[in-house]
Amino acid sequence: MAEKVLEIRGLTAGFVSDKGFLKAADNISLELKRGETLCVVGESGSGKSVTSMAIMRLIEYSGGIIADGNIVFQGEELTTKSQEEMGKIRGNKIAMIFQDPMSALNPVFTIGDQIAESLMIHQGLSKQEAMQEAIKLLGHVGIPAPEIRVKQYPHELSGGMCQRVVIAIALACKPDLLIADEPTTALDVTVQAQILELLRNLQAEFGMSILLITHDMGVASEMADRIAVMYAGTIVEEGTVFDIFDHPSHPYTQGLLNSIPGYETARGTELYTIKGTIPRLGELPSGCRFHPRCPHATEKCKLLEPGAIQLSDTHRTACWRYNEEAEVMNR
């Protein structure tokens, strides 16, 4: 049984506004084992980015607050650490890569400088040593002629190469956990395939865990060992990749999967839609947050918010329909 790298219990984080405290992430519980990839899937307003920023304690820089919950990383509690202590962990044990590689890199520093920065801060290497290491890393992430590239500036590289550089920076200190927030959304399809393959290879080599945030079910299907589906700030379903795709139990997950046109859907037919729109944070429905849009909503759903119901060892869902056994639904 692999050890747990990350354990989140009851995380509640969000922003303060005129209407009080808005919980962008409400009572989130997740775990991640060594070498595993967990995909957090959700649409806008689901709270997936807030969760990842909260783990890194970066949410405070955008005016957000962690109100409650525990984040345990390799046995250490992160919510009570100071920003200084977090600074020693970020880039070192936990690394993060973001959506837009062109803006994640500083345009006035060379690629080599940016990779070396992490090494010099966390491992105390000298500038020359760090540069040597940077060249090795660039080669490792598949950038040809790294000795030349290391002296170039970000604008001289394409989007795909920039994302590789970002990955190189993230992996410089061999982190145990990599958080990737929509790393391929801004990239072309063929480049996306290359980057995802790179991530898989690096994961196998370094044995690190990946927390991948995406809205693309295709990417989740390819990368994930386990998937957590988020809606309006809560996790509505969580399970292995096969649990979610073969036996989606929460009506939102089912709706999401049905809405995607696939190879099996007959061309030109009307697509399945989830009626209604995603609620705004300050105006969440009572009871189950999904009930106004759910085709199976009952009176109970309007009044009580469902807790997590275990469907199997690996699969849990937050829906009142599953009090005893799970129903298997075909896609």
């Binding site: 303060v16 304690r57 005016g63 607050i65 109100a67 650490k81 100071s82 209604g276 105006e283 106004p292």
Partner: protein, 319 residues
């Protein structure tokens, strides 16, 4: 289709506020009203405007009438609240009539230069290319002209009419607005709604004046307000030097100029007009600041103090 409208109704019901929410101007007005400096300044400016323009009803004196029998009376003398100057003219009356002139010049120059600057900047920024190059070089030329000498020249050639003062000041202060508007338009013309308007077939002049102008109005307004202040200062400076307003008309700058000789005898002759200039320009600047903060949609809605309180109340983490 009815299902689609249902979807709409679901979301608008859940928003629970069926009245029309306030538009951007109302929101800005609310923010402005909460700014104490700005509101006080509005009252001060209004006070000056009202009092200056109702001068004939407030004082019985003629600001230009010379009366050697009552020269240099101190403040609070009989019938003269602020005393008289070296020629026996009532100071309060002169202050009020000067206010008229200064405020008129200030607002007119601001209006004129903003209009000229906006038109030049909009055309320059929207079309780009050689039009932009030509107009911007023209702006550079205008910047390098020495305003003072230009003033002297114009006034020497055409005479000391009030209207020439306004014209010359306008023609030499529109460049800042032009550059500002041009910068704005350069950015805005890349917006997708401009492309959308072209795709519909909206003619260029409509795009400039309907679509883009509305989106750049905020910095223009702020700039216009600040220009009132600088116009008043310019006029005061010119009049002080004897190049602007001439007797029998009066302006604060002119009063300052007159008071120069008598500094040692009666320093108050300089203080009254000086304080008026100070108050009006300060008020205008505060209003400009207040407008800028009110119109800025991304401005901090909550003071830092309140944010920190909330943080302590809700946050679990120490930092």
């Amino acid at each position: 289709m009815s299902e689609l409208i249902e979807q709409e109704k679901v979301s608008s019901d859940s928003q629970a506020d069926l009245r029309k929410p306030p538009g951007p101007w109302k929101i800005a007005a609310r923010k402005f009203v909460r700014n104490p400096y700005a509101m006080v300044s509005v009252f001060v400016l209004l006070f000056f405007i009202v009092v200056s323009f109702s001068a004939p009803y407030l004082t019985p004196y003629d600001p230009a009438k010379i009366d050697f029998s009552s020269t240099n009376l101190p403040a609070f003398s009989e019938g003269h609240l602020l005393g008289t100057d070296e020629l026996g003219r009532d100071i309060l009356t002169r202050i009020l009539y000067s206010g008229r002139i200064s405020l008129t010049i200030g607002f007119s120059v601001a209006l004129a230069s903003v209009i000229i600057g906006t038109v030049v900047g909009a055309i320059s920024g929207y079309f780009g290319g050689w039009i932009d190059t030509v107009l911007m070089r023209f702006v550079d030329v205008m910047y390098s002209l020495p305003t003072l000498f230009l003033n002297i020249l114009v006034l020497a050639i055409f005479g000391n009419e009030f209207i020439y003062m306004i014209l010359i000041l306008s023609f030499t202060s529109w460049m800042g607005v032009a550059r500002l508007v041009r910068g704005n338009f350069l950015q805005l013309r890349e917006m997708q709604y401009v492309e959308a308007a072209r795709a519909i077939g909206v003619p260029n002049r409509s795009i400039i004046f309907n679509h883009l102008l509305r989106n750049s109005i905020h910095p223009i307004i702020v700039n216009a307000t600040l220009m009132v202040g600088s116009a008043i200062l310019s006029e005061s400076a010119l009049s002080y030097l004897g190049l602007g307003i001439q007797a029998p008309q009066t302006s604060w700058g002119l009063m300052l100029s007159n008071a120069q000789e008598f500094m040692l005898i009666n320093k108050w002759l300089a203080v009254y007009p000086g304080v008026c200039i100070l108050l009006v320009v300060l008020a205008v600047n505060f209003i400009g600041d207040g407008l800028q903060q009110a119109l800025n949609p991304r401005g901090k809605k909550h003071p830092v103090r309140r944010l920190n309180e909330w943080r302590k109340k809700f946050s679990k983490s120490a930092a």
